[in-house]
């Protein structure tokens, strides 16, 4: 009976997600870059990148209780892997203007040669998956020494690894691969994602990142609700008890770390395609902190919370609160106060209030569907015990 109920709600969720994706496609067509409302699409694009990043961080920090601050490093690897393997051969020499490019493989080109438009899609998809795999591989190598460390030591060690990764990617001796510290561009990016359907072009620039995020988050939800997800939560709640109940700590921490990093890599790749550039310098620890604050805002241990947190964070900082930076906000005109940077001040004060007084964030440990479900537990019953 419980199973049936779950299956029913899973179907409802599935339909809602499909409708949402359809809506995104429609919005993609009707809103043009020169429209004011295009900010909505920008927010959706960036928001889905950060939502995925936040959810993948939540898998590690919220569900497994491993406080890792290395997210930006894994996103960097994802972004670079994706970018390097999708730069078209014609653009490669312009991009690597100071180096002689060593990797000259472009997935979309290889597959589009044989399969046409579908091949491009396949190439991009493969590059995204490869991005995740590279991040996961590195996470495995990093995990071997650092996952033995306890809470804050783990945090600082992963933070350190992210910084080391950044330095390695900026090293001029690796220039032929990474283009040194210079930016990578001209690779397959959202603005080039278009479908030709009988003469009319269908823009997919928002749909693609949203789709990648949706699929990835769905997989994370499935993992969290599986027996592995429960094991992660057991480790978070009480490591000693978890170990005593036969859960191999090293193995499960590693699984969680590698999985989380895989999706961080995918998020990095998606970020590259949304921003249309990739540069190591942008993946600083500040990015990790921002993602962490999104997770906290949404509620540590809630997937839908992380999504809401990320979307809220991005729309507030990119869109709604822009006025705080530029003179007038909600009709109040005070250029002396509302000047560059005020938005971020308001924002960080708001976050501190959440951190201090609403420690559970927006969702706590609940998920969105829980809000529609009636609480079964009646107070009477508790009193009876």
């Amino acid at each position: 009976m419980i199973e049936n109920k779950n299956r029913k709600s899973a179907w409802i969720a599935f339909v809602i997600v499909l409708l949402f994706l359809a809506l995104v496609i429609v919005l993609d067509q009707i809103i043009k870059p020169t429209d004011k409302m295009y900010m909505l699409l920008t927010v959706l694009q960036k928001g889905s990148v950060y939502a995925l990043a936040a959810v993948s961080m939540n898998l590690l920090n919220g569900y497994t209780g491993l406080f890792s601050l290395g997210h930006a490093g894994f996103m960097l690897i994802g972004a670079y892997t994706y970018a390097i393997f999708t730069i078209p051969s014609t653009a490669r020499d312009t991009v690597y203007q100071y180096y002689d490019a060593a990797i000259r493989i472009s997935f979309p080109e290889i597959f589009s040669g044989a399969l046409g438009g579908f091949g491009t899609v396949l190439g991009v998809a493969l590059a995204v998956i490869l991005a995740g795999l590279m991040a996961a591989l590195l996470a495995y190598l990093i995990g071997l020494p650092v996952l033995r460390l306890k809470s804050d030591y783990l945090a600082i060690a992963t933070l350190g690894f992210a910084e080391i990764i950044r330095a390695v990617f900026q090293w001029s001796k690796l220039g032929p691969v990474t283009n040194g510290s210079n930016l990578l561009k001209s690779f397959a990016r959202t603005s080039t994602f278009k479908l030709n359907l009988g003469g009319s072009t269908v823009s997919l620039s928002t749909f693609v990142p949203v789709l990648i995020a949706t699929i990835s988050i769905t997989v994370i939800v499935l993992i969290v609700n599986s027996t592995y997800g429960r094991a992660f939560k057991a480790i978070r709640d009480d490591e000693v008890a978890a170990e005593a109940m036969g859960i191999n700590l090293a193995k499960h921490k590693m699984i969680s770390f590698v999985t989380s990093s895989f999706f961080a890599g995918v998020a990095g790749a998606t970020m590259a395609m949304v921003l249309s550039i990739a540069q190591a310098n942008n993946f600083k620890s500040a990015m990790t902190y921002e993602i962490l604050l999104m997770v906290v805002l949404g509620g540590i241990g809630s997937i839908s919370g992380s999504v809401i947190g990320a979307m809220l964070f991005i729309s507030a900082s990119e869109w709604w609160l822009r006025g705080l930076d530029s003179g007038s906000f909600l009709g109040i005109n005070a250029p002396g106060v509302f000047r560059n940077g005020f938005r971020l001040v308001v924002f960080s004060v708001a976050i501190m209030i959440v951190v201090l007084f609403f420690r559970k964030g927006i969702m706590g440990e609940k998920e969105l569907p829980d809000l529609f479900r009636k609480r079964k537990k009646a107070p009477v019953k508790e009193a009876a015990e």
Binding site: I223, S226, T227, A234, V240, E243, M245, N248
Partner: protein, 286 residues
Amino acid sequence: MSEERKQVLKVENVTMQFGGVVAVNDLNLEVNEGEIVAIIGPNGAGKTTAFNVITGVYAPTNGRVYFDGKCIVENFPHGKMKKLYKGENAGAYSHATEPTPDALTKMGMARTFQNIRLWKSMTVFDNVLIAKHLKRTSNLFSAAFRGNRKEEQAQREEVLKLLEIVGLTDVKDELATSLPYGKQRRLEIARALATQPKLLLLDEPAAGMNPQETQELTHFIGEIRDQFGVTILLIEHHMDLVMDISDRIYVLDFGKLIAQGVPAEIQSNEKVIDAYLGVVDDAENP
């Protein structure tokens, strides 16, 4: 008790030393299949340390532990300990196999904790279900994409059955920590049983319970042995409980074994009365 019963656990010459403190000194004990064996002793006698060595939390300074006929840990003093320890193998050689608690649980050894360690954010049902995790055959992918639907379903049913037996069915959707103390203890035992152990180790199961609750628990432990056919090793302060249900008792004092035997023998043992029973009140109300 018949002699040819299979030996489940054997502790051989185990010493556990922390710096200069010898917490367990040359302990020998054995537990046979189907028995309920108790370790008693005043506070600080080294009971919990012995437990932790058996369950793989600590590697012993010296000695061997056999479980189910297999040697699970073996160690001889090395490094600094060579000088401190004056046992027969001192300085001879060192060799450590250090099984982790989770590996031992997979081999069939499950435990409860003195200070209850339930997973706080989870329901009663989930607490027990997670203990089934080690029995899974699925990997991350098959589990995520529900390739293990049958196994999962079977495990859920087993958990429901188990909850039925321990009498927690009506509270299965409550948060584990919202239960009253006695039920939390039961839940911990249920969780340990869910791993389908051969040997169940209970660390002071009656700690903090009133006489009536203790009475119920005594009953419960007996029931468990009969229903699950599990061997039980327990540490306890409550004399009533120990004397009622134990087949054999080991008495520790200052890390040393001072007596062993059936309850009647222990009750009349002079050494035990001197070292332990005389201060039983202090031990019970620390």
